[in-house]
């Protein structure tokens, strides 16, 4: 396998009158060919900035980037023909119809006109293609954006929040579409906040927080590395819950006390739980390992899990530990 997309030590500092803001701070990313790659991170972590930089809209302050083995931005004009992209709900000129918009893009990029009707069909806009874009709903605009990215039949497809505004049917269609595209050999990079979706369709992920990579690798790898596997424990009688929690904590486990059960993690053998509780004459009625999902791993890694009684502010995430940024996972 070869890397279709490589980013090393990318840095971007926005300067404005209010001061400087480090949006990217030595970010790394690798995407292998033929994969659907999820690009995850909290709001303001630098996803869109990364994609804009990659596509030549923004100048980085430092770092190296390559698409399809060619250094960008230097070789961008040559590789642009094989990269289709949407960056954060693109807007289109409202008075043109979808068909006109795509025909103009096709002409500008030297793509056959017949392809326009193919992609319109593909994203389900065929019957509304002659309406003005101004009159479209959010999801219809998003579909048009995806159509514009697909127009070139690219080898690398970059989609920044493509599911934004799509209906459930649309999301599912998008999912199948991505899978089909990947099977046909296209590499897809997908940024999204819908982690269930990412877990379903992505082969691998990169997680970014505060402008740095905090995890990367295949979905299974990331889950395995970071799943603090926990067990749900129900007792015969709920009155014993607080005392049992205290006993398990003595054992060195992390315990959270829920309404009618305990969530226990940090214990190697679940049998230790039953043994400890049985010694205190407390009997377990249910002992179920809870499979971790991407969402909890994401919240843990980025430090953005909601805390009761606090209003987390957007830049309040884990600050990736200082030092060279090569300590990412999955390398």
């Amino acid at each position: 396998m070869s890397a279709v997309l490589e980013i090393q030590g990318l840095q971007k500092t926005y300067r404005s009158r209010k001061g400087v803001r480090k949006a990217l701070d030595g970010f790394d990313m690798v995407v292998e060919a033929g994969q659907v790659h999820g690009f995850l991170g909290p709001n303001g972590s630098g996803k869109t900035t990364t994609l804009r930089t990659l596509l030549g809209l923004i100048r980085p302050n430092a770092g190296r980037m390559a698409i399809l083995g060619r250094e960008v931005p230097a070789a961008l004009p040559e590789v642009a023909g094989s990269v289709g992209a949407i960056v954060e709900s693109p807007q289109f000129f409202g008075n043109f119809s979808a068909q006109d918009t795509l025909l103009l893009l096709a002409d500008a990029g030297g793509v056959e006109r017949a392809r326009v009707f193919e992609v319109l069909e593909l994203v389900g806009l065929r019957d509304r293609a002659k309406d003005r874009v101004k009159t479209y709903s959010l999801g219809m605009k998003q579909r048009l954006a995806v159509a514009s990215a697909l127009l070139k039949n690219p080898r690398l497809l970059i989609l920044d929040e493509p599911a934004n505004g799509l209906d459930p049917g649309g999301i599912r269609e998008m999912r199948t579409l991505m899978r089909n595209l990947a099977e046909s050999g296209m590499t897809v990079v997908l940024s999204s906040h819908i982690l269930g979706e990412i877990q379903l369709i992505c082969d691998s992920v990169t997680i970014i927080a505060a402008g740095r990579r905090v995890a990367a690798g295949s979905v299974a790898e990331v889950l395995a590395q970071h799943a603090t596997s926990s067990v749900r424990v129900r007792l015969e009688s709920a009155v014993d819950l607080p005392a049992s929690a205290a006993a398990l904590r003595e054992l060195g486990a992390q315990v959270s006390l829920e309404q009618d059960h305990l969530m226990v993690s940090g214990i190697a053998q679940p049998s230790a739980i039953t043994r400890t509780l049985a010694l205190r004459n407390v009997f377990v009625s249910e002992l179920a390992p809870v499979s971790v999902d991407l969402e909890s791993v994401f919240l843990e890694l980025t430090g953005t899990a909601p805390v009761a009684g606090e209003h987390r502010q957007v830049d309040q995430t884990v600050m990736a530990q200082a030092g060279p940024a090569h300590g990412g996972w999955g390398q």
């Binding site: 804009r52 030549g56 923004i58 642009a80 103009l104 002409d107 030297g110």
Partner: protein, 327 residues
């Protein structure tokens, strides 16, 4: 080339461009119609009637003046020698003719008007062409497709200028044709030698230059500010501050050749070949009485100024686009 055709199509497909052009055509038609109906041809009958009227008025004036002289002489001590005596020259037949369209004399003003109207149109269309692209995000989409910023912007500008040229040439030809017809039916084409036609053509060429200049500057300003409103704001600002404000201040200060600071003067100098400004405060004594100081602005001077502004605005637009972050 494909980018160029796409941009030309984008420009001509825009409803704004179309409506604005339609509006301009309507205004031009009204002007031409007005000129047609307010002028008349001097047929022999019209000339004879005017001559007869002039004669009649002259006779009346003579009779009246004699009556007044008599009345004056009847009063002793008054000086009647200096009283006005009408002459033939005071009653020329032309003054009694309806206005007539002398192509050679008057088409210059019509051509200047056309150039000015088309230049305003070019400025607005040029500004909105790129301004709407910036605000709608279309520019960003296009740059994702063709990540060569300078090439994209200059191709857009090229498409704009070529389209404006075609529109201007077509409208100028029709305009000339219409006024040739008006000259034939409602005036005279006298003196339109091939030399005169050549100077009409050159004037129309300079008019085209003015239109392209306005289009490119509108485009450049809107691209610099990434919004149509920026170009319009600059234009309005220049008109209000520079033209009215500066004009008032300078006239209060009694500055010489006030008009030399106003843009229309330069535009007129460019299209009309030259504009002569006169300063009546200065009196150079000569056998004919006072002769004012004059300042002549010629079309090469105006061309130089417009060229410098053009290079500055378009150059700056290109240069800022090269390095700026597009978010």
């Amino acid at each position: 080339m494909s980018l160029y055709t796409a941009e030309t199509r984008r420009l001509t497909k825009r409803r704004f461009s179309r409506f604005f052009l339609l509006g301009v055509v309507v205004v031009l038609a009204l002007i031409a119609g007005g000129m047609f109906f307010s002028n008349q041809k001097n047929t022999p009958e019209v000339v004879a009637a005017a001559q007869a009227k002039a004669d009649r008025e002259f006779q009346q004036a003579v009779v009246q003046s004699e009556a007044e002289k008599k009345a004056c002489a009847a009063q002793p001590g008054s000086d009647c020698a200096n009283m006005w005596t009408p002459t033939r020259d005071d009653f020329q037949a032309e003054w009694y003719m309806p206005s007539t369209f002398d192509f050679r004399e008057q088409f210059g003003a019509m051509e200047t008007a056309l150039a000015a109207i088309l230049a305003v149109m070019a400025f607005v269309i040029g500004a909105s062409f790129v301004g709407a692209e910036w605000t709608s995000g279309g520019m960003m989409n296009l740059l994702l497709w063709r990540p060569q910023r300078i090439k994209v912007l200059s191709t857009k500008l090229g498409a704009l200028l070529v389209t404006l040229s075609v529109v201007t040439v077509v409208i100028s030809l029709i305009w000339t044709g219409i006024f040739a017809v008006i000259g034939n039916l409602r005036g005279t084409m006298e003196g339109m030698t091939s030399g005169a036609w050549q100077s009409v053509m050159l004037m129309e060429l300079r008019g085209l230059g003015l239109v392209l200049f306005a289009g490119a500057v509108g485009f450049g300003l809107a691209s610099l500010g990434r919004h149509t409103a920026v170009a319009m704001g600059v234009a309005i600002g220049v008109v209000v501050l520079f033209q009215f404000g500066l004009g008032t201040v300078l006239s209060l200060a009694g500055v010489k050749f006030l008009e030399a600071y106003l843009i229309p003067t330069w535009a007129a100098a460019w299209v009309d070949k030259s504009v002569k400004l006169e300063d009546w405060n200065a009196c150079n004594v000569s056998p004919d009485g006072c002769v004012p100081d004059t300042l002549t602005i010629t079309w090469p001077m105006a061309g130089g100024v417009f060229g410098a502004v053009l290079v500055l605005v378009v150059g700056l637009a290109m240069w800022t686009l090269r390095s700026r972050d597009i978010t």
